[in-house]
Structures are given as C-alpha cells and as structure tokens.
Symmetry: C2
Subunit: 218 residues, 2 copies
C-alpha cells in the first residue's frame, strides 16, 4: 500500500520505518521539499521510502497518517491539501502539547475540543481515526516490547475507517482484542487528555516504556 | 480516629461507612444541618456515624475528606471554614465534572489548574492530598473487588500528608506498592483530566468496576 506520513519527527520516522519494513511504500512529508530530516530518513530506510512536501506525501498515500505535533496539525494538513485527503483514512496520532515556561505541559485544544475533532471538522471528506497517541512511538509499532496484554484506543465517526485503522494496528502487532473502540471522534478528547497523566507516569517510571491495561472483577 | 467528610453523596457515604467499619468516628457534613441524606446515613451506619454541617464535620475531623463534586468543592470548604482545616490532612477525591446539554462531560477547572490545586491555594494551612478520584467509590474502599494489581495515585505538596494518605489507603485495602506518587499538588491536573477517558471506558465496559494497571518491558 502507499502511505503518506505528515511530519518528519521521531514519530513520523518510526511509523514510516515500520511501514516500510511491512512492505509498504511510504512518503514522509515535511513543510519544505528539501527537509533534511525527511531526506536523511528516506536515504537510510530503503527504496520504498521517499521524502516530499506535505502535499506530495498526502497525494502519494492511499492512507495518510498525521504525525505532526497537535498544535501545528491543522496548518500542516491545510498545506497537505483537502483534495489529497478526501475519501482517505486519515490516522491522527498527534497530541496538542504546549510546553509552558514554568515546566508544566498543557494542551491546546482541550476539554471542549480536540485535534482529532478539529481535523474531522475542517476536512469533512477525510475519514479521521484518532489512535496511538496514548503510547510512545516505540510502543506504537512494537506492542510486544511490553509484557502482557495492554491497550490502545480508536475513535472516529466512520466505522469502516476504524476497521481499516484496526487492521493497520494489527500489522503493527496489536491483537484486535487489545484495541478498544471509544466511539465517535469526540473520543479524541478523552485520549488527548490522557497526556498530562502519561507525562507524570513517564516521570515516575523514568522512561516511556509503559502502557495502560485494565483490571476487572474476577 | 475522628474523620470529617464534606459531602453526603454516594461517595461520601461509601467512604464514611468504610471508615466506620474500620473503627473510626465519622461525621458526614452537608450544607444544611438537617440534610436528609446525612441523617439517614448516620441512622443506619451505627453509633460512630454522625451527621452535621460542613463546619461541624470539618471541626470534628482530625482528618477531613472532600467528597463533594469538584465544581462546588471550594464553596463547601469555605463553609467548612479554613480554621477547621488548618494543619489537617485534607484528602480531595473530587472531580470537577460539568454535564453539558449535548451529553458531553467537560471539566472546570482543567488543563492549567485543578480542584486539588485550588483547594491548596485557598487553604494554604491545610495539607491537601489528591487521591482516589480516578476510581469508582466502590473500588476506592475495596480494591480487592478487582482481580490482580491495579493502581491509585497521590499528589500533594506535603510529604508527611501523603504518607498519612497512603496509610489511610492501606486501611481501605490498597497495598503501598499499588499507590503511585505523582508528585506535587499540580499532579491533580493529570488525575482529574483522566475523567473523560474514565467515562468512555465506563461506557465501554458497561459498568464502573474497572481500574488502570501498567505494563512494562519484561
């Protein structure tokens, strides 16, 4: 499959390398055509790895992944172009982290809105699924690095798009029964609002190698 | 020990009954002296169970628990009186849920502030510890109803107060190694912002009998 990834940071590169290793063609998109991170990634990730602009990546992909920071996601997707997103599964893995001067991390948007919802509102013809933003990118593409069952979540308005996203997660190594459907795209609020807790837990553990599981009555 | 509980809802009653069963003297405080819920609880919970005003409950307690809704917590604690909170462990289990007309639940405060922080700021002589707000009240007082290890969290500025809160949680059945310290009272933001996710998970499971655990590398 041809996959376009919006964003050349560590999340986009990690997702891109995993997808190439799974046999997909990937274009990593950046603001500038000659982005060094995108070109360097494409050079080392093999013949199925390409670098281009946001618009080139989105046009290339049968599926598009948003791996930008959540606070710049809309600007990046506007640059990618609504016409290159229409009808496609658009997987949003972003978190709208704002690093405050005092060391606190806040979210923008939050509470009454989310990046996932904003993307779906601004690009109504895209089939947006929020997922994977609740784990570190190493865990995203290799859930087996943690022991035992743990969970990721999907939220979106389009049931078929969620099924496609679940299949993609399955290729990453997520068994279907570990993937919890949180409902429509407004579930993105709940998922993004996990971030302050996730960051505190990262501080507690000393690294990002963790994920949530659930306990129920016996 | 004498314990004052601010709030006569199901959370306050559940905490109160557990504390009485553990041998403590409990006064459940309400806005009005003749609050029917408080009186009915005291009548059925035995001779160590009392009902009174917010101020009477706070004055009674060597330890005070805030079990009001988070959006009314400050007003209730003002009525309880700063002089009745000074120097005491004040355990805040509240969540600032706002039930929106469209069915969404939002938080107020959120993101840049939390109920826990507001309480600590307004009552600087109280020793505030945020805890237990991340689980249903049945799980709060009986963690063994869920199978396996699962976690609760504490956040607060006073290390000795956190140790007292951990001891209280221990009496409820929480082993010390299940209790995760999220740092200073601003950790209350992270804990309160779990609520939208918790509510989605409650919808997923169909009940509130669940809690979080963590997976780590083997």
């Amino acid at each position: 499959m041809r996959i376009g990834i919006i964003g050349t940071g560590v999340v986009g590169q990690t997702l891109g390398s995993k997808l190439v290793s799974l046999g997909h063609q990937v274009t990593l998109g950046s603001r500038d055509k000659d982005n060094e991170k995108g070109l360097a990634w494409a050079a080392q990730a093999g013949p199925d790895a390409h670098a281009g602009t946001f618009a080139e990546a989105a046009a290339f992909g049968e599926v598009v992944l948003n791996a930008t920071g959540g606070t710049v996601a809309l600007a990046a997707l506007r640059a990618a172009g609504a016409e290159h997103l229409a009808g496609k599964l658009l997987v949003d893995v972003s978190n709208p982290l704002v690093f405050e001067p005092g060391g606190q991390v806040t979210l923008d948007p939050v509470n009454t809105d989310s990046v996932g919802e904003r993307i779906q509102r601004e690009f109504p013809e895209a089939r947006v699924v929020k997922t994977l933003n609740t784990v570190n990118c190493e865990v995203m593409v290799e859930p087996g690095r943690l022991s035992g069952e743990h969970n990721v979540f999907v939220a979106g308005d389009d049931a078929a798009a969620k099924a496609e996203a679940v299949a993609l997660l399955g290729a990453f190594g997520w068994p279907a029964e570990w993937i919890i459907d949180l409902g429509d795209i407004s579930g993105a609020r709940a998922m993004e609002m996990l971030m302050p807790f996730w960051l505190r837990m990262m501080r507690h553990f000393g690294d990002a190698e963790f994920n949530y599981a659930f306990r129920r009555p016996a």
